[in-house]
Assembly symmetry: C2
Homo-oligomer: 250 residues x 2
């Protein structure tokens, strides 16, 4: 048996999310089907993070075990051919140690959230960013974001469906950057609560619009109450951007 680490990229639009579902297409399901077609083996693929419906991935680490002996290049090429026409690509495949785990070995996760700050509807970036028509103040958003960095109880920014044992997390990084007509929000932590990034971005958008003061981010956090949430940003602007491991390879 060989344990394989795959790095996946996908367009989240047609999927119910990463996790296999009975009622609709999932990235996990598409990948496991491609593996079955290629190798005849029924596997369970594990991802670093379980993204929601509509969320994209730029570089999602995934592991799975295969009995069949293969080389990484052939595995990636074969899966890419069989994944068509699903918008999922295997960027790389490499063997790792048997105890390496895409989720449990992960030491850090990065997300990118893209806001298109313009009046006109999106064409080329439709489904790739959240459009906000009114001008956003990125500097105010950055001030608000600074209140969330650190070790906090993030109950306010947590979905009611969150399965995490504790609402306490350490947010290592939350940065708001203007890039032309876009606002990019970069978030990094060892792990995130369900909907945490989208909830933080939703509130930051209110700060950007001037409906909230930057300090309202602190008040909202300290309320430790989902009712203190301003807004949950839509999935289409969210990208799983990358994950960090101590010793990624065998």
């Amino acid at each position: 048996m060989t344990r394989w680490k795959l790095i996946l990229e996908w367009d989240g639009a047609p999927f119910m999310g990463w996790q296999r579902q009975d009622h609709g297409p999932s990235v996990q399901g598409a990948l496991e089907q491609a593996v079955l077609k290629m190798t005849g083996e029924t596997v369970t693929a594990h991802a670093s993070g379980r993204t929601d419906a509509g969320v994209h991935a730029l570089a999602m680490p995934v592991h799975l075990d295969l009995d069949k002996a293969l080389d990484g290049h052939r595995l990636a090429e074969g899966l890419n051919a069989l994944l068509r026409p699903n918008p999922v690509a295997v960027l790389s495949a490499e063997p790792v140690a048997d105890d390496w785990h895409a989720r449990f070995s992960c030491l850090g996760r990065r997300y990118l959230y893209r806001i298109a700050n313009r009046r006109a509807p999106l064409t080329l970036d439709k489904g790739r960013a959240w459009r906000i028509a009114k001008p956003l103040d990125a500097a105010a958003m950055q001030q608000g974001a600074a209140h969330l960095v650190g070790h906090h109880d993030f109950t306010t920014f947590r979905s009611v469906n969150c399965q995490s044992d504790s609402p306490v997390k350490t947010l290592d990084h939350l940065e708001v950057e203007r890039v032309g007509e876009e606002i990019h929000i970069h978030a990094a932590a060892r792990s995130f609560l369900h909907h945490q990034v989208r909830s933080m971005v939703g509130c930051l958008s209110l700060v950007g619009l001037g409906q909230w003061l930057p300090d309202d981010m602190r008040k909202s956090l300290e309320a430790r109450d989902r009712a203190a949430l301003g807004l949950n940003a839509p999935a289409e602007g969210l990208y799983f951007a990358g994950a960090l491991y101590d010793t990624p390879t065998a």
Copy 2:
């Protein structure tokens, strides 16, 4: 009557090109329909450049004449609402002088060509770039590109369907830039021949792959023969990036 200058952005994938067609959707047709719905006026829209099927636009100047008195903001918003679900957006609308012409007043046009230089199929950028799996040498491509800049007979890089009076054009700028896993090719000229950018990019890709030497670009140009063309790059990587005018507004 007011002459309006609109700046349009579009995703070229669903269109037969800019120009109105009997046998399929066009950007011009979609825009003229939206204008008719909004104002009751049947207009002819003129674009700075007539792009082919599948070619995208980031900022295409277009003009049209309207009897109805409107303000620019309302015109843009109204057209955007009526253009849905076509992936076409009016980025801005401003009144211009009656003799201003999107095509004939244009002093310069810029194109961007995006090559995704990676093995894995495209997901988020599917239909937005030309994927070339083998590594491209951007420096060699830039050397080859330099041979085309200037005043030349571009017969080699001209479609057999080109309606231009003369194959002689002045290419002001042709630059090859590596941006992460992408190669961007920037081209600027007063005007281009039909398929000129795609023909130049196709040949440059052969240089990047090592199948042509940079100097083969010169030989191909000097042949002044369509048969000396190496390859025509696909439409999906091409973007009309912008146009230059002397006095854009009234």
